[in-house]
C-alpha cells in the first residue's frame, strides 16, 4: 500500500495547520501509518495460513476463518487511516480555492510573484476557519466510529487464542486456533491507544480554535465599547 501519496497531500495541509494539527499529523505518520506498514502487516501476514482447525473436514477451516474475521484488522486500520485523513483534503481544497481567487483578483490588478503566492501561509480565518473546524469534527467522528466498529466486530480488543466454530460444513463444534494472538493483541491495544491520543489532540485543537475565536470576539466588543 502506497502511503507516500497521502503523505504528499497531507504535507501540503500541514503548512496551514495549527501547532496541534502538526503534532497530530506527526503522530499519524509515525505511530500509525509507519507501525502499520513496518510491523502490523507482518504480524497479520500469515493470519489465514496459520489459522488451524482441529478437523479434517475440507472447507471447514476456510468457513471458520471467514466467520471470525469478516474483515482483517489490517484492512480496517487502513480504512480508518484513510477516512481520518480525508477531512484534511477539504482544507487543502479550500486553500487551493482561496489561492486561485487571489491570483484571479491580482491578475486583474497588480502583478505578483506566483512563487510567493504559492508559499504564503494562509491564516485560519473566516470561511477557512469553518472548513478547518468541520474537518476536525469529522476526524473525531470517524475515529470514534472506527473504534466502536473494532469493538463490535471482535467483541473487545483482545485476540482470542481459541475460537469454537459451528459453521457449516464443520460437522460439529470445532476448535480453531488463531495465529500469534498475543502479538496481535499487543498491536491492537497499541493502535487503539494511539487512536485515543489522536482523538484527544483533535479535541484539543477544536477547543483551541473555538476559544481563539471567542477571545477575538470579546476583544472586538471591548474595543468597540
Amino acid at each position: 500500500m502506497d502511503w507516500g501519496t497521502l503523505q504528499t497531500v497531507l504535507g501540503g495541509v500541514n503548512k496551514h495547520s495549527t501547532g496541534i494539527g502538526k503534532i497530530w499529523l506527526t503522530v499519524l505518520f509515525i505511530f500509525r501509518i509507519m507501525i502499520l506498514v513496518v510491523a502490523a502487516e507482518r504480524v497479520w501476514g500469515d493470519e489465514q495460513q496459520d489459522f488451524v482447525c482441529n478437523t479434517l473436514q475440507p472447507g471447514c477451516r476456510n468457513v471458520c476463518y471467514d466467520h471470525f474475521f469478516p474483515i482483517s484488522h489490517i484492512r480496517l486500520w487502513a480504512l480508518q487511516l484513510i477516512f481520518v485523513s480525508t477531512p484534511a483534503l477539504l482544507v487543502a481544497m479550500h486553500v487551493a480555492y482561496t489561492r486561485h481567487e487571489k491570483r484571479r483578483r491580482l491578475r486583474n490588478g497588480e502583478k505578483i510573484d506566483i512563487e510567493e503566492l504559492k508559499n504564503e501561509r494562509i491564516h485560519i480565518r473566516g470561511p477557512l476557519w469553518w472548513t478547518y473546524t468541520s474537518s476536525i469534527f469529522f476526524r473525531i467522528v470517524f475515529e470514534a466510529v472506527f473504534m466502536y466498529v473494532f469493538y463490535y466486530m471482535y467483541d473487545g480488543y483482545q485476540m482470542p487464542r481459541l475460537v469454537k466454530c459451528e459453521a457449516w460444513p464443520c460437522p460439529n463444534t470445532v476448535d480453531c486456533f488463531v495465529s500469534r494472538p498475543t502479538e496481535k493483541t499487543t498491536f491492537t491495544i497499541f493502535m487503539l491507544a494511539v487512536s485515543g491520543i489522536c482523538m484527544m489532540l483533535n479535541l484539543a485543537e477544536l477547543c483551541y480554535l473555538v476559544i481563539k475565536v471567542c477571545m477575538k470576539e470579546s476583544r472586538k466588543t471591548t474595543v468597540l465599547k
Binding site: 507482518r42 482441529n54 487464542r161 481459541l162 500469534r180 502479538e183 497499541f190
Partner: protein, 370 residues
C-alpha cells in the same frame, strides 16, 4: 528502507540541529538499527512461524506453543524500540521549530521598532535594544548566519529532557528484551499448553542466525545508550563546572561568556561599554555561562574585564565548540548590546587567534551527514 522513510525524513531534520554526539547517535540509529533491521533481520525472521516445528500432530498445538514462546517477535520489538527511542528527538525538533518561528516573528517586530527608533532619534537606543534583548533571552535560539539553532535556555532544557527520556526508553527496552527472552535463543523449546496433550518439543527456526542478530542489536542498543549518557555527561559537566565557577567569581566577571560571540569588529566597542550595557548583562537566565572562563578566572587578574573576555574566547576555541556554535550563556543579549549569534567567519577568526590550539576536533556543520 522505504517503509522507514516517514521516520527517516523527520530524523534528517533533527540531524541538522543536533550536537556532535547527537549526530553520531542518529547515524548509529539509521545505519546500524534501521537499515540492518529493514534488510537483514526481517528476512532472517521471515519464516519464524512457518518453520517453528513441534513434535506433535495435535492440531493447534504448534500455534499455541509459538504464541507462548514468542509473545512478540524480536523484529516487532526492535521496531517499537526504534520508534520510542526516536520520539523524544521529535519533541525537541518541534520545540526547535517553534523557537525558529518565534525568532522570525521577533525579528520582524525588531525591524519595525528599529524603523520607529530611527525616526525618534538615538537617545533611548541602548535602553530600547536592551529591553528587546531581555525579551529575546527567552525566545532566541536561532543563528541566522550559520543556519543553526543555538542551544540555550528552554530549548536546551528540552534537549536535555529528550536525551534523558531517550536513555530511559533505551534501558527499558533492553531490560524488557532480557525479561522476555533472556539473551540467547535456545534451539529447543519445551511447551505445555492446551490443546497440547503433554509437554511437547518445539524447534525454533534458524536459532544461530537469530542469535547473531540479537547480540548485534543488543550491542548497538548499548552503544546508543552509551552515546546518550556521554551526551548527558557532556551537557551536565559543563553546567556543573559553570555553576562552580560562578560561585567563585564576582558578578561582573560572569559577563564574559555572553560576549564570546562578539565578532572582532565590535570588540573595541565593548572594551568601554556604556552604563546601561552592564545592566543588560546583569539579568542572567544564567544557565550556561562559558565553561571555559573558569580556567580563565583562576589564571587571570579578573580586574581587566576586556582581557578576560578575549582569553575566554581563546579558551572557547580550544575546547571544541558545542554543535556548530559554542556553548554560550543563555541570556546572550542582542547584537546591539553584545553580539549577534555566531557568524561563520567568527570561528575562523577564533582559530587564527589561538596559536596553541588545544582543539582536537571542532564541530563542523557537515560532520556526519547521513
Amino acid at each position: 528502507m522505504g517503509e522507514w522513510s516517514f521516520l527517516g525524513d523527520f530524523l534528517e531534520k533533527v540531524h541538522k540541529h543536533s550536537t556532535v554526539v547527537g549526530k553520531v547517535w542518529l547515524t548509529v540509529l539509521f545505519i546500524f538499527r534501521m537499515l540492518v533491521l529493514g534488510t537483514a533481520a526481517e528476512s532472517s525472521w521471515g519464516d519464524e512461524q512457518s518453520d517453528f516445528m513441534c513434535d506433535t500432530q495435535q492440531p493447534g498445538c504448534e500455534n499455541v506453543c509459538y504464541d507462548k514462546a514468542f509473545p512478540i517477535s524480536h523484529v516487532r520489538f526492535w521496531v517499537l524500540q526504534i520508534i520510542f527511542v526516536s520520539t523524544p528527538s521529535l519533541v525537541y525538533m518541534g520545540h526547535a521549530m517553534h523557537t525558529v518561528r518565534m525568532e522570525e516573528k521577533r525579528k520582524m517586530k525588531e525591524a519595525e521598532m528599529e524603523a520607529r527608533e530611527n525616526k525618534n532619534g538615538g537617545d533611548t537606543y541602548y535602553q530600547q535594544k536592551c529591553s528587546v534583548a531581555e525579551k529575546e533571552t527567552k525566545l532566541s535560539g536561532w543563528d541566522e548566519a550559520g543556519g543553526q539553532i543555538i542551544l540555550r535556555g528552554s530549548l536546551l532544557n528540552t534537549y536535555v529532557y529528550s536525551i534523558l527520556i531517550r536513555t530511559a526508553m533505551e534501558v527499558a527496552f533492553i531490560v524488557g528484551q532480557y525479561v522476555l527472552y533472556g539473551i540467547f535463543l535456545e534451539t529447543l523449546y519445551i511447551c505445555q499448553r492446551a490443546p497440547c496433550p503433554h509437554p511437547v518439543n518445539c524447534y525454533v527456526s534458524r536459532p544461530t542466525e537469530k542469535n547473531v542478530f540479537i547480540v548485534f542489536m543488543l550491542a548497538v542498543a548499548v552503544l546508543s545508550l552509551f552515546l546518550s549518557l556521554a551526551e548527558l555527561y557532556h551537557l551536565g559537566w559543563k553546567k556543573a563546572k559553570e555553576r562552580c565557577s560562578r560561585s567563585y567569581k564576582a558578578s561582573p566577571s560572569t559577563a564574559p561568556g555572553r560576549l564570546e560571540s562578539a565578532p572582532q569588529a565590535e570588540r573595541a566597542q565593548m572594551y568601554t561599554p556604556p552604563p546601561d550595557f552592564n545592566q543588560c548583562l546583569s539579568s542572567p537566565n544564567g544557565k550556561f555561562i562559558s565553561p571555559f572562563s573558569n580556567k580563565v578566572a583562576s589564571q587571570q587578574n579578573t580586574a581587566n574585564f576586556a582581557t578576560e573576555r578575549v582569553h575566554g574566547q581563546e579558551d572557547a576555541a580550544g575546547e571544541g565548540p558545542f554543535m556548530k556554535s559554542s556553548y554560550v550563556e543563555s541570556p546572550e543579549v542582542a547584537s546591539e548590546c553584545a553580539a549577534p549569534a555566531f557568524p561563520e567567519s567568527y570561528f575562523n577568526e577564533k582559530r587564527r587567534l589561538s596559536k596553541a590550539s588545544r582543539a582536537s576536533s571542532k564541530a563542523r556543520s557537515d560532520d556526519l551527514s547521513v
